[in-house]
């Protein structure tokens, strides 16, 4: 057993507690006083250095646990490898591409993939990467060359903050197909529905938004008016491809404003 300090959310406040990381489960000391078997953990999520551990019992509870990175790494590894989840041994490469830039140092890592309720975890000796299902933007079966052989892999595109990240999973074909089908099904709501069509200009706008262009840059690049762009945004909003972040106002000076600015630039004493 390894005892480590953590912070756990209790009644809306963070309290310091110690947790024993055992072979069968976690034992939180006072003031939490709770034993959690790994097998009773049905979900694990990580947001900004906080682990959200969902425990099945008479009633489902979500433990929020924060700690230093080293402790979280151990917790994540123990939970993902022993909790109630679909697990498969696999090779993974994550991230392989970040924001469109290929990570040249990316390597295939041997480890496991744990499929949980809200996301999938890539777990290796060195790292644990969580891909929340709601952050998955694309799934594809594709081929990659691994050790001079072409092999089938699953390519997963997902968001990490505002960045689009691509990861690859490699395992026996039958398992790969199961993983692919699961992810495809879990992200079905993101597929374009019947009759949801994006015209070429709207697609260009989408591409520019993806690249980080703001509305003004888009209008200039595509040589379209503000009204044209608003129309395209409306169409993209309607089919759920974009969301409004904020509304920026364009203004002009009132006569009072013009007078103020004119006065402000006059040399002193005039």
């Amino acid at each position: 057993m390894t005892e480590v300090p953590v912070k756990v959310e209790k009644d809306g406040a963070w309290v310091v507690a110690k947790v024993d990381i055992g072979k069968e489960g976690l034992a939180f000391g006072p003031p939490i006083d709770l034993e959690v078997k790994y097998k009773s953990i049905i979900d694990l999520d990580e947001r900004k250095n906080v682990l959200f551990i969902t425990v099945k019992g008479e009633r489902e509870i979500v433990l929020r646990v924060a700690s230093v990175e080293k402790v979280l790494l151990v917790l994540k590894k123990m939970i993902t490898m022993s909790c109630s989840a679909y697990r498969l041994m696999a090779y993974f490469m994550s991230p392989a591409v970040r924001g469109g830039v290929m990570i040249t140092s990316a390597i295939w890592e041997k480890g496991a993939i744990a499929v949980l309720k809200s996301g999938i975890w890539f777990v290796s000796q060195e790292k644990q990467v969580c891909v929340p299902l709601q952050e998955v933007t694309g799934i594809e079966m594709t081929t990659r060359e691994v050790q001079a052989k072409k092999v089938e892999v699953v390519k997963i595109d997902h968001m990490e903050g505002s960045e689009v990240v691509t990861s690859f999973v490699l395992c026996p074909l039958s398992t790969l197909q199961i993983l692919f089908n699961f992810l495809k099904d879990a992200t079905k709501h993101m597929e374009m529905g019947e009759g949801q069509v994006v015209d070429p200009q709207a697609a260009q706008v989408g591409m520019l938004v993806y690249s980080g262009m703001d509305s003004l840059a888009i209008e200039k690049m595509l040589q379209i008016t503000h009204k044209d762009l608003e129309g395209i945004y409306e169409r993209l909003l309607k089919i759920g491809l974009i969301e409004v972040m904020f509304i920026r106002r364009e203004v002009q000076l009132t006569p009072k404003g013009v007078r103020y600015i004119t006065d402000a630039v006059k040399p002193p004493g005039q």
Partner: protein, 120 residues
């Protein structure tokens, strides 16, 4: 900040890259729409860095990369590929490309990659 030559056969991608790089403080010294033009412009403009599309008419990006490196073995070229062209990427690595961008891309990461390559 660097002097950059953008090579891509589509005006849209050239304009997009131009906007991203300009906003990042770089100087766009020229544009080319195919490999032949890229080699000629490289020799004429001697940029610090080239962003090179792989699939282009007449001469593709790999051939253009070879041509540029034959003229200047220290040339810094970042290849621009579409998803699923990993084979081409491997070839580009062997040929001496310094970085790889996959379309579609995000501006901050592209600028980061360019900064890394220009700094080497």
């Amino acid at each position: 900040m660097g002097r950059i030559l953008i090579v891509d056969d589509t005006l849209f991608m050239r304009t997009l890259l131009k906007n991203i790089l300009f906003a990042g403080g770089h100087d766009i010294v020229g544009e080319a729409g195919d490999g032949d033009e890229a080699i000629a412009k490289y020799q004429e403009l001697k940029p610090d860095l080239v962003t090179m599309d792989i699939v282009m008419p007449k001469m593709n990006g790999i051939e253009a990369l070879k041509g540029i490196r034959a003229h200047d073995p220290n040339a810094k070229v970042i290849m621009c590929t579409a998803v699923g062209q990993e084979q081409m990427v491997k070839l580009a690595i062997k040929t001496g490309a310094k970085g790889y961008i996959v379309k579609p891309f995000q501006a901050p990461k592209v600028l980061e990659e360019i900064k890394n390559v220009i700094g080497t």
